[in-house]
Symmetry: C2
Subunit: 776 residues, 2 copies
């Protein structure tokens, strides 16, 4: 854990330069607008440690590892998110010496992500080895009101000298991926042009030929007044810029505003890329830096009104939740239904910007409550559109009859990951995709989604499970072998409780929903049966037999579900018996040692209990939580939120709070020593759930909102807003009381600790935790 980030309710602040943590700060200071993502690296050249990253959603490279041990059934490639055009670059030369914070003495350094207004700010004073002292201030943002535009303002004050400043604003496609093999590069130049005050480059990616165009213009100011200076266009391979020489007198401040347009062939025909990039850059310049920043900030303020969670009395917790909400909304806006939410968004190279089960298990609940229904529905339809490819994928693995196995990692519906223990075995993602359909319908009441799309997906998934179990003569039960559960610190195990459980649930849920549609709309029912070649007599019958006789490992003595066969043969130790020098295990231990240990990366049995909490009494939940929680090292970002929610439900206040801090400040405090690689975007939705579902105890049952609120001891209050079936509701929880404000046009019923309350339209109501209304 690192503690160099200053606590502030609306900002992420690095005060004093921490080059040793530069990659982490770069990740934390990422900005984005759903289409573009930019790490918080410096504008000017920096020779110290940095992970350079400018990403474009949907632009990737199909990398290969053609090695002898490629497994039959693997995809042709795995996807790699590409570091794209460096659009922020401005190199600075002071009397001929390049400005490079690695070679200066630096003071008064501040790097600050302003979440309220949505921009990144930096300032510092640097003294060069040659004696010149400058003060620098920068601001940048990726506009959410015009998402093809990135803008920045860079001011430099000559503090103790007169002489010459050279500014080199540039665009650079000659960039590297850190994860490339032997520094392979991925961009090829198509065209470029430079002129005084502007530059444009169009480049394409190798293999998939994504074409990206970037164009820049800039304005110059001296002490705030516009100036014109001659510029020398400069070009090299995949690089274009301007060299601007400016005489300065001691005390003067030179400011450059850079207006960049970035567009890609995802949105325009290749022939228009050049002109569209130039247009965007021109548009931004016309509007001006401050005007566009104002519009951008206004848009963020409006968003915050809908999405903010306010916590009183605990600034660290407040900062954590806002950071999470902010980064999620920077990553995915719902504006483009071809996109999805990658585990690291566009803040680093890891996980390739691809879609994982995180979307269904973690992000959909977040968007259900905080965005229009259509956002979640589109995320479901994203998978519906990929059903054909999921069926093909299952066929490649030897399943038939319309069985569907969704990819673990995907850019376009195809599997693009190639570790067998993940690709072929981490099949629980199928369960999460089915569960999200249930979750969506349960939350929205939009049962018609089933008839229209959902049921076909459920049938494909159920069919997969029906084939994935097999009958064990020795056990006289159905078993499921060769599985990797959400706890990826076990690979290729037999009878993973979570996977078998969710599989059984999928089969039953699909059968029930078939029954429902049969009663509801027989013609659509028949249509689906025909389309899917579904044989009720054979398939439903077999599903019934199967689900009534599945083996689940169970420890009678402790009364706990066993994570998998053989779990009790392990040396069982609590995680707090580990030396701190051994953590995180995935960086300190070899893989085999991790696999052989009892330590759990992320909730696995507990993940199942979280999904299906109504299936278990609270004693069972408690026994399992008490057994597994101490062995869990939470080295998956998706883990602590689930523990926080369960702990809250069990009344383990301290644990719930600890886990909340861990999920909400995972990156800010760098718990797992990996924030340098990028942020854990998808788990940020889990942080939101920790508050709303955990502390707030929010559930939807039988079409009604339920709350079982609790208030962490350190907090004075917390407040969140949710959308529910056409209503919008603010919920504030204080000591012993909960206050609702409804923004809807109709009365709405909610349950507080099982007691029904009616909230008037457009009205507020405060209720004590023991359910007596105390203020009307």
């Amino acid at each position: 854990m690192k503690n160099y980030i200053k606590i502030d309710e609306w900002k992420i602040i690095e005060e004093g330069f921490h080059p040793e943590h530069n990659r982490i700060t770069e990740s934390l200071c990422s900005i984005g607008n759903g289409r573009l993502g930019q790490r918080g690296m410096f504008e000017e050249n920096y020779s110290g440690d940095t992970l350079q990253g400018s990403y474009i959603a949907g632009v990737y490279f199909p990398d290969k590892t053609r090695v002898g041990w490629w497994k039959n059934g693997y995809p042709e490639y795995f996807a790699k998110v590409l570091n794209s055009v460096n659009w922020i670059g401005i190199n600075i030369h002071i009397n001929g010496t390049p400005l490079d914070l690695n070679n200066c003495s630096v003071r008064s350094f501040v790097r600050e992500l302003n979440m309220l207004d949505g921009y990144l700010y930096r300032s510092f004073i640097a003294k060069l080895a040659t004696g010149e002292k400058v003060k620098v201030e920068t601001k940048r943002f990726l506009s959410i009101t015009d998402d093809e535009c990135g803008l920045l303002e860079y001011s430099i004050t000559a503090m103790n000298f007169s002489g010459e400043l050279v500014l080199v604003p540039y665009l650079d496609f000659d960039v590297v991926n850190e994860d490339s093999n032997y520094d392979q590069k991925f961009w090829e130049e198509i065209e470029k042009s430079t002129a005084q005050g502007e530059a444009t480059i169009v480049a394409k990616t190798k293999k998939l030929d994504f074409v990206v165009g970037a164009a820049m213009k800039y304005n110059l100011f001296k002490d705030g007044e516009p100036i014109k200076m001659p510029a020398l266009p400069t070009e090299r391979k995949k690089y274009a810029g301007n060299i601007v020489m400016i005489p300065v007198v001691e005390g003067e401040t030179i400011t450059i505003q850079k207006f960049v347009g970035i567009v890609s062939s995802l949105n325009y025909p290749v022939t228009l890329i050049n002109s569209k990039a130039m247009e965007a850059s021109f548009r931004a310049q016309q509007k001006g830096f401050h005007q566009l920043l104002n519009e951008h900030s206004e848009a963020w303020h409006k968003k915050w009104e809908e999405i903010d969670i306010k916590i009183e009395g605990d600034s660290a917790a407040q900062q954590g939740i806002r950071f999470n909400i902010f980064q999620l909304h920077q990553t995915y806006t719902g504006a483009d239904d071809r996109l999805n939410i990658g585990p690291k968004g566009f803040t680093g190279e890891k996980y390739g910007g691809s879609t994982y089960w995180d979307t269904e298990a973690y992000c959909i609940p977040f968007y259900l409550s905080t965005a229009d229904e259509s956002v979640s529905r589109n995320l479901l339809i994203y998978r519906y559109k990929h059903l054909g490819k999921a069926i093909e994928n299952a066929q490649k693995l030897g399943f038939n009859g319309g069985a569907a196995l969704y990819p673990m990692v995907t850019m376009n519906g195809e599997e693009c990951h190639n570790e067998w223990e993940i690709t072929f075995e981490e099949i629980h993602r199928n369960g999460a995709i089915a569960y999200a359909i249930y979750d969506y319908i349960n939350y929205t009441g939009d049962q018609q989604y089933l008839a229209e799309y959902g049921l076909e997906v459920l049938i494909g998934i159920a069919r997969f499970w029906a084939q994935r179990f097999h009958f064990s003569q020795a056990k006289n039960q159905y078993v499921m072998h060769g599985v990797t559960g959400p706890n990826e610190y076990e690979n290729n195990v037999n009878n993973n409780w979570y996977t078998s459980y969710i599989a059984k649930w999928c089969l039953n849920y699909c059968a029930e929903m078939l029954e429902w549609l049969k009663n509801e709309d027989i013609s659509r029912y028949k249509e689906i049966l025909k389309k899917t070649f579904f044989d009720e007599n054979v398939e439903l019958k077999f599903w019934k037999e199967l689900t009534s006789n599945i083996y689940f490992p169970f420890d009678e003595e402790r009364g706990v579900f066993l994570q998998q066969d053989g779990f009790l043969d392990k040396e069982l130790k609590p995680a707090n018996a580990l030396e701190s020098s051994e953590r995180p295990l995935n960086q300190k231990w070899s893989w085999d040692r991790i696999l052989r240990s009892c330590f759990i990366k992320q909730a696995d049995v507990l993940q199942g209990i979280y999904f299906f909490e109504d299936h278990f009494d609270s004693d069972t939940i408690k026994r399992n939580f008490d057994f597994y929680e101490p062995m869990t090292v939470h080295e998956s970002s998706l883990s602590p939120c689930v523990h926080s929610i369960l702990a809250a439900g069990l009344g383990y206040e301290e644990k719930a709070y600890d886990m909340y801090l861990r999920t909400s400040r995972l990156d800010l405090d760098d718990y797992n020593n990996d924030a340098c690689d990028g942020l854990h975007i998808t788990s940020m939705a889990g942080t939101w759930m920790s508050v709303v579902k955990g502390f707030g105890g929010m559930r939807v049952k039988d079409g009604l909102l339920n709350f079982k609120p609790m208030l962490p001891a350190k907090w004075l209050s917390y407040q969140f807003k949710i959308k529910f079936r056409g209503n919008s509701l603010s919920v504030k929880i204080e000591k012993n009381r909960i206050t609702f404000e409804s923004f809807g046009t109709e009365d709405i019923q909610v349950r507080i600790n099982n007691q029904l309350i009616v909230l008037g339209a457009q009205a507020a109501k405060t209720v004590s935790f023991n359910n007596v209304p105390i203020i009307q």
Copy 2:
């Protein structure tokens, strides 16, 4: 299975061109001399399907797959054998049209590997689209008497035309590896030169800077008479050759002999590479093609006298065993103790030319009997020299106190493989390395090897095992989790019977040998204890406790050792229930399906029984064989030989013979549909064992040779020669009788079916199977 190779006792013959099997034939027709390996591809350009391969022992590339999921403890790279200089190349143009068998009508095609004389022959008649008809004959070999020289002779007869022939002999480093990612190339040119009649190139590999030089000269003949023709030197990047234009009259034959020298920085300083390559080429030309071929063939004849196995009455079996012996001796000669035996030798790209456990488990027994003791001893010392790196490797994985884990795949003692289920889990290789020490000492009686080298290796290995088991409270026994056995169709299993068994044996054997040395040479004993920081009181005591309480999975009902925990939960089916379209499974099934099935890639429990047959009564062996054999698909080349030996011991004659054919003709008949990738070199030693240890029943017990001979029904006799403790012995087995001929200088005792026989020095003796001497 393919059956296009003609049966011949001394030759591998493709009669009629089979372009659809060209890669297979190229593999089968590989030539080599321990330092260089050359696939049987064509000299002239061929636009059809081909796997181009010219390899140099010890020259490799450290490839990377820098992907997000690199596991902690993985090596920095994995080794890739590099396709090296194409030295055989001669392009032919006939009246301006290139000769390319893919664009001709071809008849009378023969490609023939002559194993007796050690060369590759090819002849054909081709008719070009333009009407010209030529007859071509080629011969090539890699000299074993001057192992820096490769020679070839190429004759072309103008059958129906007069005109111009253009011959372009060349050297080409601008070659590709098929397994490279996106056609990355690995060679960089350092220098080259061409002149009339000669060309030289020196190139180096990327990253590791192996420098290789190749030089060529040639002679020309018309109808057998030397001619001189002007030549045009030709060069391009990494390529150098000569263009020779020769007028021909119908009926004339033009012959070119190409003399190539190839040397590398493994053997010379970089500055000498150029001149040493030229020297070798010059040397070859001076001696002449036929003279050098004669010497080469003579050397092969001499080898054959020592290594041949003769089988009467079964030409297919005869061809199989000779092919195996020939290819083994082409791959490893024992001349360079830095080299070892890769699973595919130098006949393809797979397995990277690296060392696996195959050497210890399969090749050492072969070299023990057929080569000087020093060859096996050097192979053991190869591992002794790597002990430090094996200890480092174990440390990387979290083991300490001098525990050693040898790499699964290595070029230089470092692990160079990166699949966790292999690298971290297939730890049984440690057992094979210990077993080879036992095997060597048992065979040679050279117990001093222990004191000098072996014991340190045993201690490192035993220490590893002592830490790799852990105590299970639930079982109240020591267990070993997270293992992949020799049957690689199971990954990450618990209590793999084979691995646990050999681990236990290692611990006991090391303890015994420590005891032996303590009694034998107390001062050396103390020296080793000091060097290894060995604490008798702690370590030996713990080993004793551990080995007395290890859990081995066992099925009481069937009386069989269980391959691993949970094996009986699988659906147990015989392999013959599989459709032939499903075989080989590793090409037809996905990996997860293979893992979940009961099907066995290679002997696993049976491998253990084979190693330790004296530990088990024959009923136990039979029960286990009967249980596992039907489920074994033999998709490891190392599998059938072990089954053949066990079947022979059990008196299952037919099974023993089937398995013998399978191992000996694995590549010739392409059982596993993978001979296209290269030959299965290491398993060829297993074929030899199938005859000598299987049918011959040869064992060494208490310093004596033992035989339990049987004669496959189809055979009239078989005969092999073995070296044993300074003696050399020929053994011929006919129906009901066995004939020995001793070439040693002292009497030697052997046991036939447990009865002791004395063989006189330099004498022959025939004994009936029921042990009555019948001819003196």
